[in-house]
Amino acid sequence: MAKIQINGKKVALKQNFSILEVLKKYKLNRKKVAIELNGKIIPQNKYDKKKLKNNDKIEIVQFIGGG
């Protein structure tokens, strides 16, 4: 298992889990979010190639109501 942080929450995932698999796990539409891995933005077309390792930090953001 790999211990990673998603949006500040500690989560344990299988080794070699990709970002695309994280999105599937949380039922998130890849076209409606943006992702940062350890402070770097990951382009949408690299979600399947990017594998997660221990202590990685992911931020997944979306648009919400605002002024």
């Binding site: 943006a34 933005i41 979306q62 648009f63 605002g66 002024g67």
Partner: protein, 262 residues
């Protein structure tokens, strides 16, 4: 005059907008009300915020499911950012979601007044413009700062009428009119408008547009108020283009004074 009104185009950067009203999507009771209010406002662009996805609630409704970004232009903002690096991070992420280049920069300096921090704002505008963003900048009503933003390449100047969410209306008409006079890019009043007539006043002064959130979302009937703003902005713009009459200190009868009976 009709012909003039028809040719009146609202353009930010190279993009033409049908409506001079931009609305926010915050503070509504729910997303259904948000969507209905946007529709009745007639706005073709809405501001949106960038926030973390709630990973523990998979069924939470999404703004994008109610307000279709293919039909309404999203203008991502940096609300809640108090420094340049947070604002840059937010807008770079926003661009990644959908490729938007037009953004609203808003860097706050004080939690109580939500007054813009112009030093951070100027610095960040420069970086964003260099990265190819079209930046609409929330700013103070200081004409000097407004000019500096324009010189840095801001796509629109968005001075506050009064503090965000205060609903106090335009407090410094002189400064706003100085900004309107000097600016070659659109001037859009952002923040502080309280009711429809405030928007009309802004438009009559010659503002190119207004951005409204709280005044619609916090009205007793937001959907109806959104429509009121739609017409208030149109009325103000037409009035500005029509050129108001001169003010006189004494009366001038509207009906002919000749040929009275008696």
């Amino acid at each position: 005059m009709e012909a003039n009104v028809k040719r009146d185009v609202f353009k930010i950067d190279k993009k033409i907008f049908k409506s001079r009203l931009i609305v926010g999507t915050g503070k509504y009771k729910n997303l259904i009300e948000t969507a209905k209010a946007i529709k009745s406002s007639g706005a073709d662009m809405v501001t949106v915020a960038v926030r973390r996805v709630n990973i523990s609630d998979k069924k939470k409704p999404l703004l994008m499911d109610y307000v279709n970004p293919k039909k309404i232009i999203y203008l991502p903002n940096t609300a809640g950012c108090f420094n340049s690096s947070d604002a840059l991070r937010t807008l770079r992420l926003a661009r990644e979601i959908g490729g938007w280049k037009m953004v609203k920069l808003e860097i706050l300096g004080d939690k109580k007044t939500l007054y813009p921090d112009m030093i951070e704002t100027l610095k960040t505008t420069k970086v964003l413009v260099k990265e190819g963003f079209k930046v609409l900048v929330y700013c103070t009503d200081d004409p000097l700062h407004a000019k500096k933003l324009e010189d840095l390449g801001a796509s629109a100047i968005m001075p506050l009428a009064a503090p965000i969410g205060s609903g106090l209306g335009i407090h410094n008409k002189l400064n706003i009119s100085l900004i309107i006079k000097q600016s070659k890019v659109p001037v859009i009043i952002d923040a502080g408008i309280g009711t429809a007539s405030d928007a009309t006043i802004a438009m009559e002064m010659g503002c190119d547009g207004v951005l409204i959130n709280s005044a619609i979302a916090l009205a007793k009937k937001p959907i109806q108020m959104a429509e009121a703003f739609k017409y208030a902005v149109i009325a103000g713009r037409k009035s500005f283009l029509s050129g108001r009459m001169k003010k006189n200190n004494f009366a001038s009868a509207s009906s002919p004074e000749k040929d009275l009976i008696s």
